[in-house]
Amino acid sequence: MELFSELYNCYYQVVDHILKEASAHPISQKRIQAICGEIGFAESSFYILPKLFDGTWHLLSCDGTHYQSLAGEPQSLPLTLLQRSWLKSLLLEPRFCLFFTEEEQEALARYTEDAKVLWRPKDFHYFDQYADGDDYTSPTYRAHFQILLTAIQKRQYVHISYHSMKGHRIAHHYLPLKLEYSAKNDQFRLLAIPEYSHILQNINLKGIQTVTLLSRFLEEDFDFAAMIRKSYYHEPVRLLIKNQRNALERAMLHFANYEKKTKKIDENTWECLIYYNSSMETELLIEVLSFGPAIQVLGPASFLNQVKYRLSRQIKLFANSSYVTPS
């Protein structure tokens, strides 16, 4: 079993798509080029097309203008032992089992019988994961997860009643769009928009009391990416990173999950721009503070003021030995 194998190569995927289409009907050179562009890497067509057209890869026949598959329609590839081993390892993970009934899990276990697990949950120690993650074995949680999965696939509205993070009970009709998992929180959140609104909301699955499918469906197209991009503040957080205590590498890793741009200012200083929205703001603020003096916030003013407010509050607390509430 090899991870880095030609079996998973992108070129095989490109050729597979070309042969599939060329077995249904003859296709033009332009269409073959387009498939290369869609499935392959940016420069793949420079390497794949000459080999296909000059017969080095004797997989297509040409009638002068159009190409047909010589090998018929490629059959589905059976899962490799590596892929079956990966599935077998998943059966030990409660989050994978959320999707299946016990009988279905047994069927999967039989299918992967000949494979060896690649990992076991006990091989990993997530040392900074939150202690209050979701209970993936709770029957209610599992039922909610499956209803939401159905609703997202069918673009179906649901009625949800839940406890918000502040403890308020909220009930509303929503269009569920995505399920988002955070390894740090070890929890799922539903990204949904309330009916008659276009403001994206996050609902912790753990807080959901009831969820029921409604008989309404979204008919029109929906641009999720545009909605997320629109939610970002116009001005990114501007950070000055001083390379002390290996802060540069730590910061680059820590902020790797944000869209960011970094440039070198001088031998020891870098500027990093981080794009964020209101739902990320507090978390980002805390993360920046955790770096101490190695990172300086330059802007925007609203973000900088929050840093300054916390610091001045801190200085006042230190100055006051009797633990009085700072004003």
């Binding site: 999967l108 299918y111 690649l118 995505k178 399920l179 999720f224 407010y309």
Partner: protein, 415 residues
């Protein structure tokens, strides 16, 4: 650039380049001084080709810089999996692959290597040596795509069941689960290849706090997991890349666990170093090579010891001395209004003891091998820290110095 190819034979060489582009995203040609400019140009061109949708190029006085712009809020797969899909192959490899797929159209069809060779010649007019066809068929048996059995002296090959044939009713749901797991589970790249084969893409699941660079270490992880399961010792070649210097060292280590940070995506090998008689951790992204050695006789004894030690690691450090760092943090938390801070302490405090001292005042206490690992966590409470006490004088001094330096940096107090 006549020797330039988009595909590669070995993953290791490109791994460090991709990581640097991803993590730093600001290095120019001159910053990659370890290799020739030609090597840099080839690697950059390759990465730009593999990941063209995510590449951001900018021009600075230092030259052109290439970075990877990945917004985890919008990604349905890990773009870096594409790097794994760049293994080079021969003309014969790809032709035999598709001829096999065509000839083994049913799971009941069986062929000898000679049959396969003849059918390929008859059907596709390509002549291969039977030996080459046999070699490829045996490779596919190893990979689990074909199975083989003996019929007298003849070795017959047969295709294994496809996913649809094996699990016809479960198939759609399984692909949905794989869509999720390829993003979130170890060796998720493997899951992405299942979706590739089935021509399915994830459109439902996203990850918050997605750190994608980890996949570049998957080959190392793969070898280490295998050694963990068989209780073997390994030798690892470690290269630490501090900004100021690079250091290569070789360690013989008994691997036990992989420690993972959910906040940075960093992964560490945790193991026992027989030569130093202590547990230690090594960053996976710094491990260049893993060599399997013999089984370690006392594996279970040290495993038990490790389990007893883990609760005293706040992060990945087992400390450098036998003494423990005792930390006590006193916080101002307005009861009824700021209870979420208490929730944070419970949730993120990794087993520390929280005590209500008086109205609006709580303490958090913990005893760990290396108190230095708590410092970033403690600084997240800036604005509500009443006192920070520890038996480690260095840490105490460092904490108050840092706060002082920050206050001066933001002009809260004068220099």
């Amino acid at each position: 650039m006549s020797d330039y190819q988009e595909l590669i034979k070995s993953f290791q060489k490109s791994r460090n380049y991709v990581r640097d582009f991803l993590i730093y995203g600001f290095k120019s040609r001159d910053d990659f001084s370890q290799k020739s400019g030609r090597t840099y140009d080839n690697e950059r061109r390759r990465i730009e080709s593999w990941l063209h949708e995510y590449i951001h190029a900018s021009y600075t006085p230092q030259g052109k810089t290439v970075s990877l712009a990945l917004d985890s809020n919008l990604l349905h797969t890990n773009p870096l999996y594409r790097v794994w899909k760049s293994r080079s192959f021969t003309d014969n490899d790809i032709m035999l692959h598709f001829f096999f797929l065509s000839l083994f159209h049913s799971e009941d069809t069986t062929y000898t290597a000679e049959d396969l060779t003849n059918h390929i010649l008859d059907n596709y007019q390509v002549l291969f040596e039977a030996q080459l066809v046999r070699k490829k068929a045996n490779e596919y048996v190893k990979e689990g795509i074909l199975s083989s059995h003996r019929d007298g002296r003849r070795k017959l090959y047969r295709r294994t069941k496809t996913l649809q044939e094996a699990l016809p009713t479960l198939f759609p749901l399984l692909l949905l689960a794989v869509s999720f797991c390829q993003l979130t589970m170890p060796l998720g790249f493997v899951g992405s290849t299942i979706l590739d084969n089935q021509r399915v893409a994830n459109y439902i699941f996203l990850v918050k706090h997605g750190y994608y660079g980890f996949t570049l270490e998957d080959e190392i992880l793969f070898s280490l997991l295998s050694a963990i399961h068989t209780h073997h010792m390994v030798t690892v070649l470690n290269r630490s890349n501090r900004t100021s210097y690079t250091k290569e060292e070789q360690f013989t280590i008994v691997p036990y666990k992989i420690f993972i940070s959910t906040r940075t995506g960093r992964r560490f090998l945790c193991g026992y170093l027989p030569a130093r008689q202590r547990f230690s951790t090594l960053r996976l992204d710094q491990i260049q090579k893993v060599t399997l050695l013999e089984p370690f006789e006392d594996y279970l004894f040290f495993q038990e010891k490790l389990e007893k030690n883990i609760p005293f690691c706040f992060g990945v450090s087992f400390g450098i001395s036998h003494h423990m760092d005792q930390i006590r943090l006193t916080l101002f938390i307005q009861e009824g209004i700021e209870d979420y801070i208490l929730t944070r302490l419970r949730r993120e405090g990794r087993g520390g003891t929280i005590t209500h001292i008086e109205k609006n005042t709580y303490s958090y206490e913990i005893s760990v091998f290396d108190g230095n690992e708590l410092m970033p966590f403690i600084k997240t409470f800036i604005g509500r820290i009443l006192s920070f006490e520890t038996n480690n004088a260095f840490l105490r001094r460092k904490f108050y110095q840092d706060i002082d330096e920050m206050a001066k940096m933001y002009q809260i107090i004068k220099e």
